[in-house]
C-alpha cells in the first residue's frame, strides 16, 4: 500500500502509456512527464506567490492580501487575469524581435532544469549521467535571456540592471558550482539520482544527508547564499530592486511578458531549491527512518517549500546589498571559502571514517570562517565615510 502511494504517479503514467502501441510508449511517457512538470510547477508558483505576499505581510506587521478569496487565497488567480488582459506595451525604439524573444527564451530554459531532478523514488524525467552539469548549463543560459531583456528595451536603466544582474549571476554561478563539486567528490557521480541514492542510508534514526557533515554544512550555507544571489532575490536583488532602478531589466515589460519573467524567476527559485535539496538535504529521503512510510514525493515538495519559506524569510529580514558589496562578498569571501571546502572534502575522504575526520574538518572550517570574518571586518575600515572628490 505504501509502495503504491509512493509510486502512484509512475504507475499512473505506465497505465496511461499502456494504451499505446509499443513503439510510441517511450516517447508518450516522456511527453506525459513533461506535461506533468509544466502543470505542477506553475501551480507551485501560484502557491509561492501567495505565500510570499502573506508571509512578507505578517513579517512586516500587516496582513497580506486578504480580500480576493477566503484569506486572499484567490489572489494569484486575480493576478493572472490582470497579467493576461493588461496592454502589452513595447517602447517605440525598442528592438521588437529581441524584446519578444527574451521571455520566450527564459521560460523554457528555466523549465529544462527540472528534467534531471529526482522528485521521488524513480521519478526523474531523464536519468542523465552528467545531470548536474546539464542543470548548470541551463542555469548559465538564463543569463542570456536577462541580457536580451535588458538590452532590447533601449533604456539605459534596463541595460544597467541587466549588466549588474549578469555580473552577479556569473560570480555566484562559480560559487554554486564549487559548492556542488564538494558533493560530487563524495558521491562519486554527476548523476543526481546517484547523489540522492548515496544519501538514502540511516544510522539509527538519523539520515546520512550531506548537510549533517561539517563540509556539507559549509557547502549548504554557501549554496543557500549563492542560490539567493543566482535568482536575484533579496538581499541580492539590486538589479531588480524596486526602489533603486524601477524594475531593472524588466522595466519595459508589461502584461503577459512581465508575468512570464515573474514566472521564470520563481520557477528558477524552485529549480535551484530542488537542486539544493537533492545535493545536501537528501532529495526525496525522509528525515527520520521511522517516517519512511510517507511517500517520497511529499518529502521532496515539502523540502522545496521549506526552502521557499526560507527565501521569503531572508527577503523580509535583510536589507539589500549594494552591487560592489555583493561582488566583494562573492569573490573575496564566499569563493575562497568554497575552495577551502573542497580541500576539506578531500581531507575528509583521506582521513577515512572515524572521529578524526569530524573533529579536524569541523575545526578547519570553523577557524577559517572566524578568521576570514574578522579580517573582513577589520579591512572594511568601518568608520566615518571618506570622500574621494568632495574635500
Amino acid at each position: 500500500m505504501i509502495q503504491t502511494l509512493d509510486q502512484i504517479f509512475v504507475l499512473f503514467k505506465n497505465w496511461l502509456v499502456g494504451f499505446l502501441p509499443a513503439g510510441w510508449q517511450v516517447a508518450a511517457g516522456v511527453v506525459l512527464c513533461v506535461i506533468a512538470i509544466i502543470a505542477v510547477y506553475p501551480a507551485l508558483f501560484a502557491i509561492a506567490v501567495l505565500l510570499e505576499r502573506k508571509g512578507l505581510g505578517r513579517m512586516q506587521n500587516r496582513y497580506g492580501p486578504n480580500r480576493v478569496g477566503p484569506f486572499g487565497l484567490f489572489q494569484p488567480v486575480a493576478d493572472g487575469i490582470k497579467a493576461l488582459v493588461k496592454e502589452d506595451i513595447v517602447p517605440l525604439r525598442a528592438d521588437r524581435v529581441v524584446h519578444f524573444l527574451a521571455p520566450v527564451v527564459l521560460v523554457p530554459i528555466v523549465f529544462m532544469g527540472f528534467a534531471v531532478l529526482p522528485m521521488g523514488r524513480h521519478m526523474v524525467l531523464v536519468n542523465m549521467d552528467s545531470g548536474l552539469l546539464f542543470f548548470f548549463a541551463m542555469g548559465a543560459s538564463t543569463e542570456l535571456a536577462v541580457f536580451m531583456a535588458g538590452w532590447s528595451s533601449r533604456n539605459k536603466y534596463s541595460l544597467l540592471g541587466a549588466m549588474r544582474a549578469i555580473a552577479q549571476m556569473i560570480s555566484y554561478e562559480v560559487v554554486l558550482l564549487l559548492s556542488s563539486v564538494a558533493v560530487v567528490m563524495i558521491a562519486g557521480s554527476l548523476s543526481l539520482v546517484k547523489i540522492v541514492e548515496s544519501q538514502n542510508h540511516y544510522t539509527g534514526i538519523f539520515p546520512h544527508w550531506y548537510v549533517f557533515t561539517p563540509w556539507g554544512l559549509a557547502g549548504f550555507l554557501i549554496f543557500v547564499v549563492a542560490s539567493t544571489a543566482e535568482t536575484n532575490r533579496s538581499p541580492f536583488d539590486l538589479p531588480e530592486g524596486e526602489s533603486e532602478i524601477v524594475a531593472g531589466y524588466f522595466t519595459e515589460y508589461s502584461g503577459f511578458k512581465f508575468a512570464l519573467f515573474f514566472l521564470g524567476e520563481y520557477v528558477e527559485m524552485f529549480a535551484v531549491a530542488a537542486l539544493g535539496t537533492t545535493l545536501f538535504l537528501g532529495g526525496w529521503t525522509a528525515p527520520f527512518s521511522f517516517l519512511g512510510w510517507v511517500p517520497t514525493w511529499i518529502w521532496f515538495f515539502a523540502k522545496i517549500l521549506t526552502w521557499i519559506c526560507v527565501f521569503i524569510w531572508f527577503r523580509g529580514t535583510l536589507p539589500r546589498l549594494r552591487q560592489d558589496q555583493l561582488m566583494n562578498f562573492a569573490w573575496k569571501f564566499v569563493l575562497p571559502f568554497s575552495l577551502l571546502n573542497l580541500v576539506v572534502v578531500a581531507l575528509w575522504r583521506f582521513l577515512g571514517p572515524g572521529w578524526e575526520q569530524w573533529v579536524i574538518c569541523s575545526a578547519i572550517l570553523l577557524v577559517a570562517y572566524v578568521v576570514m570574518g574578522r579580517t573582513a571586518f577589520t579591512l572594511k575600515n568601518i568608520g566615518p565615510r571618506k570622500y574621494r572628490y568632495a574635500e
Binding site: M59, G316, T317, G373
Partner: protein, 205 residues
C-alpha cells in the same frame, strides 16, 4: 562573528511572523473600509465654518471680515460680503458672508485661516473621505457644505471646543456685565435726573 547579525535579524522577523497571529501589537493593520482608526484630537484636514444653535445661517459665527481670505497662502477662500446685517451671538449687528467658497483641492491644511480668525468662526475638520469623481466642482465647497454645528466641533476637538466656548462665554459675560453696568449707570443717572427734575418741580410748587 560574521553572520550573527543576520541570525538576530532572522529571529526578530520570525517573532514578528508568529507574534502577528497572537498579539495585536505585532499586527497593527485595520481593515480599512469596515474599521477605521479613530482620529487623534489634533488632526486637521480641511476647514469648516462653525455655527451656534439649531440653524446654520442664523447662527454662523463668520462676519465676513475677509482676514482669512487675505491670509490664505494658496488663496483658496473666496468671500462675498452681504449687504445687510444680522445679529451675532452677543446680539450685535454684523455682516455675514453671502458667499464663502473654499476650494478644498487647493487647500494645504496649513491652519493659518484658523489662527487669524478673530471670531472663532473657522476651524479645522477631520473628515478626509472627500473623494469625488467630479473633477471641476466636486471639491469646491460652498457656505452650506462648510457649515457645521458647534456640537460637531465639540465631537471632533473636545478640549479646543470647550476652551473656545469658555472664551466666548467669558466675552459675552463681560459685555453683559458692561451693558448692565452701563444700564445701571444710565438708570441711576435717569433716576438722579428724575429726582433732580422732581425736586425743582416740588420746589416750584
Amino acid at each position: 562573528m560574521l553572520g550573527v547579525g543576520v541570525l538576530k535579524g532572522l529571529g526578530e522577523t520570525a517573532r514578528n511572523f508568529f507574534g502577528s497571529y497572537f498579539s495585536k501589537e505585532r499586527l497593527t493593520t485595520v481593515q480599512y473600509p469596515e474599521q477605521r482608526i479613530p482620529t487623534v484630537e489634533n488632526a486637521r484636514v480641511f476647514p469648516f465654518l462653525v455655527y451656534d444653535g439649531p440653524e446654520w445661517d442664523a447662527g454662523m459665527r463668520c462676519v465676513a471680515c475677509q482676514i482669512c481670505e487675505k491670509e490664505c497662502p494658496p488663496k483658496c477662500i473666496y468671500i462675498e460680503k452681504s449687504k445687510d446685517k444680522k445679529p451675532d451671538y452677543v446680539g450685535k449687528q454684523q455682516f455675514y458672508p453671502a458667499r464663502f467658497d473654499i476650494d478644498v483641492s487647493v487647500c494645504m491644511s496649513c491652519q493659518i485661516c484658523v489662527e487669524v480668525c478673530p471670531f472663532e468662526a473657522i476651524k479645522m475638520d477631520t473628515a478626509f473621505e472627500l473623494a469625488t469623481d467630479d473633477r471641476f466642482g466636486g471639491l469646491l465647497q460652498d457656505r452650506k457644505q462648510l457649515a457645521k454645528s458647534n456640537e460637531y466641533y465639540h465631537q471632533i476637538h473636545p478640549t479646543e471646543a470647550a476652551e473656545v466656548d469658555g472664551r466666548l462665554a467669558e466675552e459675552k459675560a463681560k459685555l453683559e456685565a458692561k451693558a448692565k453696568a452701563a444700564a445701571e449707570a444710565a438708570a441711576a443717572k435717569a433716576a438722579a435726573a428724575k429726582a433732580a427734575a422732581a425736586k425743582p418741580a416740588e420746589g416750584e410748587k
